[in-house]
């Protein structure tokens, strides 16, 4: 299995690497930002100027109208060239769980109002779906939406909302009536400055620390009917669409990280001498590096396959779950291998190597845990 990018896609990947190296955080700034939990607002602005958020958006809404394979190539390049995966995690959340649902389910008025500021990067998008008592079982949500004339009134609490502290527009979900189950859930577009929206402080987490995350509560928050996203009671479709895109695409930048890790450990194994020869000459080290190479080469086709399927307008639920499961777990394993090969230096915070592991572990949890991905795959296999 290989991935043959077109010349244009290769060019975009190279352009992303050049941009990432010049404009996004590098070591040791990334180590400090990770320690101090600092979102790179300037990097976000530069990503906007670079066109990252415009790529999948049609030209009529201020976008570039590029295909998904092109976006994935750019994400891979940015992952390789940037030491701050938290920023790219935020960019992924913005694109796949905010911009894409608006593009897919939004009215013309909603698209015209929100896509231009989102695609320029002037606005930051967030997605608020998880609740304290509704994690993997997201449709057990308790946040209520009560219809009052031409408005809905939202009340409830969301947790683990990526980008919330810096967000301008939140895609959220609430039930009209818990007794309706899945057909009661409805999606809404909530502007951050709407009265009744309260965003908590930036929470500290194990990895992806520069990507801001907070709880969001809605208290008698009035939302005009025009801000409903999709049909009443069809929020599950919006949510599933967002998850399919996110699961399939959110790890493209991690391909770049895995490539960078591979190059780093090869250089280290060639130059680090122990017992009179480079450590790469010891099979126990070389075998780890071979496994890292194998993982990278088997992960890339899974990610780019999703780009092909979505480009053809096809459902990619199964392929997205396969990619999410496999790539996230490979990313963890390769990050562990990198630490082991670097030894004590890999364990030290200042080197930035251990940060990759902390970032990688998140991949087996967000957008559906590995267990949930296996459930999805098993179900699609008829089990």
């Amino acid at each position: 299995m290989t991935v043959d990018l077109t010349n244009d896609q290769e060019e975009l990947l190279r352009a992303a690497i050049k941009f990432g190296r010049a404009s996004l955080r590098q070591e040791p700034d990334a180590v400090r930002a990770d320690r101090d939990i600092l979102f790179d607002a300037e990097g976000w602005r530069k990503c906007g100027e670079f066109g990252l958020f415009k790529m999948p958006v049609p030209e009529e809404y201020g976008g570039l109208g590029l295909g998904l394979p092109e976006v994935l190539a750019v994400m891979e390049g940015l992952g390789y060239a940037s030491a701050d995966q938290g920023l790219l995690f935020s960019a992924n959340a913005h694109l796949w769980t905010n911009t894409i649902p608006i593009l897919t389910f939004g009215t013309d008025a909603q698209k015209s109002k929100y896509l231009p500021p989102l695609s320029s990067g002037e606005w930051v998008g967030a997605n608020a779906s998880t609740e304290p008592e509704a994690g993997s079982d997201v449709f057990a949500m308790r946040t209520r939406a009560e219809r009052r004339g031409d408005r809905y009134v939202l009340n409830g609490a969301k947790t683990f909302v990526t980008n919330a502290p810096v967000s301008d527009l939140i895609v959220t979900y609430a039930t009209l009536d818990p007794a309706l189950g899945a057909t009661g859930i409805t999606a809404f577009l909530v502007e951050r400055n709407t009265p009744g929206v309260n965003v908590g402080p930036h929470a500290s987490k194990m990895g992806l620390r520069t990507s801001p995350l907070a709880d969001v509560t809605f208290h008698d928050c009035e939302i005009p009917v025009e801000q409903r996203l999709g049909r009443e009671g069809r929020g599950v479709q919006v949510f599933e669409c967002a998850m399919e895109w996110e699961r399939g695409c959110i790890l493209a930048n991690c391909l770049g990280v895995m490539r960078r890790q591979l190059e780093q450990v090869i250089r280290h194994a060639q130059s680090r001498q122990q017992f009179g020869k480079p450590i790469g000459k010891y099979q126990s080290i070389a075998n780890r590096i071979v496994d890292m190479k194998l993982r990278l080469e088997t992960c890339r086709p899974l990610i780019y396959r999703i780009g092909q399927l979505k480009q053809l307008g096809r459902n990619a639920e199964l392929e997205s779950a396969l990619a999410k499961l496999y790539v996230s777990e490979c990313y963890v394993k390769s990050s562990l291998d990198a630490i082991q090969i670097f030894g004590g230096y890999g364990y030290m915070t200042e080197q930035g190597v251990e940060r990759d592991l902390r970032d990688a572990i998140g991949g087996t949890l967000y957008s559906g845990t590995s267990e949930i991905q296996r459930n999805i795959i098993a179900k699609r296999l008829g089990l």
């Binding site: 449709f139 009209l176 009536d177 189950g181 057909t183 009443e232 009671g233 599950v236 008829g382």
Partner: protein, 90 residues
């Protein structure tokens, strides 16, 4: 014009092929609870709602898809008949 029996057969065929592949048709009765028994999960429910809307050219409101109206082949068929009658009157 579909009668109640045809509608039930449509629903039965859909559920057996899309939700319960391999299940014996004899195990799916008109009064088998679909939601409260876990036969239909969230996506299965939405799939059935979409099938009903497309098959009968009707639009179901969220409040019409509660367990009272939408849990058995019997209750769903009755809802469809009511919606078709309302659509034809309009």
């Amino acid at each position: 014009m579909r009668d109640n029996g045809t509608i039930k057969q449509d629903l039965r065929n859909y559920i057996l092929s899309e939700v319960l592949p391999g299940e014996s048709p004899a195990n799916l009765k008109d009064n088998t609870p679909l939601r409260t028994s876990g036969v239909l999960d969230s996506m299965g429910l939405l799939g059935l709602v979409s099938f009903v809307e497309e098959q009968y050219s009707i639009e179901l409101e969220a409040h019409e898809t509660g367990i009272d109206n939408f849990d058995t082949i019997d209750s769903i068929a009755s809802l469809i008949e009511t919606k078709i009658a309302g659509r034809d009157k309009a």
